[in-house]
């Protein structure tokens, strides 16, 4: 079987479109564990093709700014860029990304998870190939639930989450019922809070792009969030992002955490977590609708149209996002670290399912997230935890700061939402969405 896989991989690599002569490509990427594995294994692609790779690893926001500057000025510094499902449709529509529709047949486009493929396409054209994808779900401490005689349902409601959090909070032991993102930012607290608003029946905008931040669903959702975190959350929650909550949960301070499915692998790794083996995974909680209750994000590889080594860049992407690459990671680095959320075949692989106890919950979450219909009522935008329009980064971050202010007690929820509504209205008028 191993020989067969090796032969298939070799055939795939030979068939992959690569430059006629040795080329050096520059890849701009973020620092996360999947990318580090890719850096390690990419020596194999270099050997097979004779090409070389220069890696430029940057912090996420710096990467976004750096790549935007380079593409907008036709700098041509990068041949492969790492972008998310927020940038892909926006940049593709601006003509900044090369289409990725001509990979060899062995690439098997139909094996890509439909939701992820759709999020990275404009029309039927794929503009970024998913390297790993994530949704959000509920992680909870099975041992604490058992001790308290509680049972977590497969699809909890937010009312149940509040009851559980109340029962499991013991501040004298620094044990908090729930940990949620509070650090301001469109990709930090607003990622989670957008799903909370969605499931309460709200949305960022109505069909005329009028901001909805003072609507009843926003009031309900943000009041619930602030009350819950004040009662059952850790102190200083307004400065906790993904990494801070991972640290709290992995050191036993949180009974529940609603966040990215990508957290699961880190929490189940005993070298990074003191609670490995004690965690349960179920769907993200719902309130009045399941629409938009869990998010969808895909870190992906794309070729900017300013690249001067397009063929070699596409060859690399075809290799790094292939089924064979998933297989290679599983066999050489361990199945638990295989790139999640990109391909159906990964979730049909018995080795992966055995190694990753969270796999079924993660795929269910990804399949349930629909960026094209993220809310109960119709909206003019796509994206579950973001709005795929250029001004959203600014809008989301400013609103995030207002809500973090309410969480820390610097303002009331009503005042924060009114301020958020005003700043969002001004930003949307400036961007030309509102008259």
């Amino acid at each position: 079987m191993r020989q067969l896989t090796g032969a298939a991989l070799a055939a795939f690599l030979l068939a992959a479109p690569c430059a006629a002569s040795a080329t050096t490509i520059t890849i701009a990427t973020v620092n996360n564990s999947d990318m580090i594995v890719m850096q390690k294994l990419s020596a194999q692609w270099e050997q097979q093709t004779g090409n070389k790779i220069n890696w430029v690893v940057l912090e996420e926001n710096v990467l976004r700014q750096r790549v935007t500057t380079d593409i907008a000025t036709h700098g041509g510094q990068f041949d492969v860029i790492t972008i998310g499902s927020y940038e892909t449709p926006i940049w593709a529509k601006q003509g900044w990304l090369a289409p990725l529709n001509e990979f060899p047949a062995s690439y098997d486009y139909d094996d890509l998870l439909p939701q992820v493929r759709s999020a990275l396409s404009v029309g039927k054209t794929l503009f970024a190939a998913p390297f790993y994808a994530e949704s959000s779900f509920t992680m909870y401490r099975k041992d604490l639930f058992a001790q308290a005689g509680l049972t977590m349902p497969d699809q909890p409601t937010y009312a149940q989450i509040e009851q559980f959090a109340d029962k499991l909070t013991d501040k004298s032991k620094q044990q908090y019922g729930i940990c949620l993102r509070g650090k301001p930012g469109w990709g930090e607290n607003m990622a989670y809070l957008s799903t909370l608003v969605n499931t309460n029946g709200g949305s960022w905008f109505d069909m005329n792009w009028k901001p909805q931040l003072t609507s009843a669903p926003w009031e309900t959702a943000i009041n619930f969030y602030v009350d819950l975190m004040k009662k059952d959350g850790p102190p200083g929650a307004d400065s906790n992002g993904f990494n801070e909550n991972q640290a709290l949960f992995s050191t036993g301070h949180c009974a529940m955490w609603i966040d990215s499915t990508a957290a699961a692998g880190k929490l189940e790794d005993p070298s990074q977590s003191q609670v490995a083996g004690k965690i349960g995974f179920v769907k993200a909680p719902v309130a009045v609708t399941t629409h938009g209750a869990s998010w969808l994000w895909a870190w992906s590889l794309a070729v900017p149209t300013t690249s001067t080594h397009e063929a070699a860049a596409e060859s690399f992407i075809a290799w790094a996002t292939s089924k064979q690459y998933v297989d290679l990671v599983g066999k050489t680095q361990g199945w638990v670290v295989a790139p999640p959320g990109t391909r159906t075949s990964t979730y049909e692989n018995a080795d992966y399912l055995n190694a990753a106890p969270f796999a079924k919950a993660a795929i269910a979450a990804i399949n349930s997230a629909d960026p094209n219909h993220p809310t109960l009522n119709p909206v003019p935008y796509t994206g579950v935890q973001f709005v795929a329009i250029p001004p959203f980064q600014q809008v989301g971050t400013v609103v995030g700061q207002d809500i973090a202010g309410a969480l820390s007690g610097r303002s009331t929820v009503s005042a924060a939402l009114q301020s958020a509504q005003d700043s969002t209205t001004a930003a949307m008028q400036q961007a030309g969405y509102l008259k």
Partner: protein, 273 residues
């Protein structure tokens, strides 16, 4: 008047307190670099732990530390040398041959520092691209020189003003030309001031992050770009980031210790009258 014993104790305590408060973040960074990722984020923070060199090993494995150090050295010392070479004649002229526009000129030079760098990112990026200086040490040396030139001119001007004009005039009467005046009279007298200006310019260039992150990619990336690579959007990174930061500040810290005497002498310069 002799200060009372109690006053001296209080001043000493205040001095030590300020020094420790300033040193604490650096000390904590070094301490964190020897922790595991899980120990680095422990609540309450750990003062005693089992130290590990794992972070340094990983940082060296993932990043090109030697390349980044070389780029930092070339950029900071190159831009400082060029900056001083350009600023010396300017400061000399303004200090010893002032006219009615000198003060305005000095203020205008300083005012260029008040504009946020991001305001000129696009034009600088386009110029760098069209001149082929994107991701080159030459391009970054040029930018750092221009960025630090106002401070270098101002510091040199201040130091030169401390030197009595009569000495320069006497040398001129003895037949020394402008270059000879600078070389024989000015350099020995203002040496400590020039050295401390150079040291400050080196430190400013070494720590500069905005231009070095935006104008470099592979070939000219200095230590500031090296550090940024270890910040992770998902996953614990504080221990590795601390190790990378410790490695980045180590050379300039050693350089600072070695040149401490000159730095202090230069900054307290003015006793030549």
């Amino acid at each position: 008047m002799k200060a009372s014993f109690a006053f001296r104790i209080w001043v000493s305590l205040l001095g030590w307190g300020v020094a420790l408060a300033m040193f604490f973040p650096v000390a904590w960074m070094v301490l964190t670099s020897f922790k595991t990722e899980i120990d680095a984020v422990a609540t309450p923070p750990l003062l005693f732990f089992h130290p590990t060199l794992e972070n340094y090993a990983q940082v060296n494995q993932l990043g090109d530390y030697a390349g980044a150090v070389w780029n930092s050295i070339a950029i900071s010392f190159g831009s400082t040398a060029l900056g001083i070479a350009l600023a010396m004649p300017a400061a000399y002229a303004m200090a010893f041959f002032p006219n009615r526009w000198t003060k305005d000129l000095l203020l205008w030079i300083l005012s260029t520092k008040m504009m946020p760098a991001v305001g000129v990112l696009m034009p600088i990026y386009l110029i760098s691209k069209s001149t082929g200086l994107l991701d080159t040490k030459t391009g970054l040396i040029a930018i750092m020189t221009l960025a630090n030139l106002p401070i270098i001119v101002w510091m040199l001007y201040t130091f030169f003003k401390e030197i009595p004009g009569d000495i320069i005039e006497a040398s001129r009467m003895d037949g020394a030309g402008a270059l000879a005046q600078i070389r024989i009279v000015l350099l020995p007298l203002a040496g400590p001031g020039i050295a401390s200006t150079g040291l400050l310019a080196v430190i400013l260039s070494w720590n500069e992050a905005f231009w070095s992150l935006n104008l470099t990619a592979v070939h000219a990336a200095p230590l500031t770009a090296f550090i940024v690579a270890f910040s992770s959007p998902q996953g614990l990174f504080w221990a590795k980031l601390s190790a990378a930061s410790t490695l980045a500040v180590a050379p300039i810290l050693v350089f600072g210790w070695m040149t401490q005497r000159q730095l202090v002498r230069g900054l307290t310069f003015g006793a030549v009258k």
